[in-house]
């Protein structure tokens, strides 16, 4: 096995699944001849042709809208929003149709599709190319929201998302697209939709993150382990919605302390929901305030300052130390 990066892992999964399942179709802006602006769909157009790999007009609402029709007709479309910052144009198709078709038709029509979208900051991109708005989707009943964090879980989660019979928003942390490589295998039973993954077992504190923040979190943890010898439990959320409440709650019951690292703006972010779940089921086990490390409540700054605003290894370390010492 050779090591590959996240783009290669996603691309590999798409190749495998297009090969094995005729119902799978790719659609989006520049996903064909160009292989996608990040090359996630590279080589598919050449292999499967323009009928199954569609360079669409620039029309995000209808990319999802047309895909809904395709999905109802029996296909499994995997569509791309070129950047998550342009996915808000399809919110009404998502909230109003993709998420509701099953319930509206009492199961007569289903929408097995995946919306892939690169998201998040840290790559010196232009305005609108750096947001983390997973909450918009997670606060939408009838939609699943999945965020991989590494080459090895990205491919497996994408496969699970494509095979899921309901609409899945699949957010790809573009900062992690090419930043590291891993050995990638096709069987890891723990990687399924709806399950968080415990990356490290420990009992001093629970540290929760997802997406690109996962890697910085792990680095911060490693530093702190060396510096302080503490023993943290680290959880990679992987599925944002529906959330793996059990894994979170059990861990916090054990550790009594928790830090959550999110790239999204602070208020009404995913961390708030995690805190609410801890409040519901583990409040009396808490020995310290659950700490949030987040972006601020400002429109995502242009790249000249982005790293100052995103959670950093230093900020994570400080938050963990403060929580341990509270």
């Amino acid at each position: 096995m050779t090591k590959i990066n996240m783009v290669q892992s996603l691309n590999r999964t798409l190749h495998q699944i297009m090969e094995s399942d005729e119902k799978v179709l790719i659609m989006g802006e520049d996903v064909g001849l160009n292989g996608g602006v990040f090359r996630v769909t590279e080589g598919l157009f050449e292999k499967y042709g323009r009928k199954r790999v569609i360079d669409s007009p620039i029309a995000e609402s209808s990319i999802l809208g047309v895909a809904i029709g395709m999905a109802i007709s029996g296909l499994k479309p995997v569509v791309e929003m070129q950047f998550s910052g342009f996915s808000y144009l399809m919110m009404h198709q998502l909230e109003g149709n993709a998420s509701r078709m099953r319930t509206r038709s009492r199961g007569q029509f289903t929408v097995p599709l995946v919306v892939r979208m690169p998201y998040g900051g840290g790559i010196r991109a232009l305005e609108h190319h750096s947001e983390s708005k997973e909450v918009y989707f997670a606060h939408t009943a009838g939609v699943k929201v999945v965020i991989p964090s590494s080459p090895s879980n990205a491919g497996l989660l994408l496969k699970a998302a494509i095979n899921d019979p309901d609409p899945v928003i699949f957010m790809e942390p573009k900062r992690s697209y090419r930043s590291f490589k891993e050995n990638v295998s096709d069987d890891n039973e723990k990687i399924t939709l709806g399950s968080a993954q415990i990356l490290k077992r420990g009992d001093d504190i629970t540290i929760i993150s997802w997406g690109a923040m996962m890697r910085d979190t792990l680095k911060a943890v490693q530093d702190l382990e060396e510096e302080t010898g503490f023993n943290p439990e680290v959880i990679d959320l992987l599925t944002i919605s529906p959330m793996d409440t059990r894994t979170i709650v059990e861990s916090v019951k054990k550790t009594g302390r928790c830090v959550i690292i999110q790239e999204a703006q602070k208020s009404f972010g995913p961390a708030s929901e995690i805190i609410a779940l801890i409040n519901d089921q583990a409040l009396m086990y808490l020995e310290a305030t659950v700490k949030r490390v987040t972006m601020y409540d400002v429109p995502f700054p242009l790249f000249g300052r982005e790293l100052l605003y995103m959670p950093s290894i230093e900020k994570i370390k400080r938050a963990v130390l403060e929580t341990l010492n509270e």
Binding site: V66, Q93, D166, L193
Partner: protein, 363 residues
Amino acid sequence: MPLNIIEKFSISYMQILDEKGNVDPELEPDLSRDDLLKLYHYMTLSRMVDSRMLNLQRQGRLGTLPACTGQEASFCASVLAIKNTDWFAGSYRELGGRLMRGDSLLNLLYLYNGFEEGSYNYENNRTLPISIILASQLPHAVGLAYGSRLQGEKDTVALVLFGDGSTSEGDFHEALNFAGVLNAPVVFLCQNNQYAISTPRKLQTKSATIAQKAIAYGIPGIQVDGNDVLAVYKSVKDAVTRARNNEGPSLIEAFTYRMLMHTTADDPTRYRDDQEVERWKEKDPLKRFKIFLTNKKLWDDKKQLDLENELKQTIDETVKQFESKNDFKPDAPFDYVFEHPGSTLEEQRMDFLENLKKETEND
């Protein structure tokens, strides 16, 4: 040097059966006796059901309802032009068309009484449920048509209905443009009933016709008399034939009129005068179709009476059946959120049922 004209376009209008019941023999489509009678049957049923449902609504037995009277030619004759294996997507103002597509009246009553169960179409699984987000069903039709073709159905097309107001939405534009590029076999039928709630057609767009919007997408567009069953049927049939032959999508503007209120929550006297409504009564699609059938010796007063009695009886029975049912499962909204709901949702269902139990115990 004068400017160089590089493109020329024109938009035509089609009427075959005029307001007095006269037919243009050159354009008259070849419709069988059975088809003609089926069409008249469903148009009459639609009119009668519409008025009955509005009645039930006034009595508080149904929720907010759209009224469909006056547009029967446009939604019934268009549905007659497609097959059961074709896809049909509408908005909410195509009552008789839905009945022709196998929607049961009983289910429609359940639906308008606020129960999702009414959305299931037991007879046809190629009819999408009612779609309320204006124009959002148009891209679905494109995907349905394209998807079925890709899966080897050489013949399948999609027919999608929507209103004049819906043409202002971005989704209208994106869907027609997308269909053009994909060469998808879709027929877009705009029921231009002159109003979007209170907003008249001329405040919706400055274009002289809706039909000419087809030019923006490089696809055929035509305006037809939407109260003329023959023109609607023929124009849709022509477009369907082109679509079946891989000649791509078309846009049809059916010029018609909403005779009653937008929905039961609406008071049309606030924005239009009675004379306008009276003038449109002259153009009633059922009236002229009846003259046509009578002239063809396919219809007479006795048949009319029999049909009305028969339909009234069916409707009465269905309403009775509707009113006798009150055992909808309270937790049904949990049933179809996901195929694999996961524990959070199942716990919420338990919580819901427990709550319900407590509340019933309290009573």
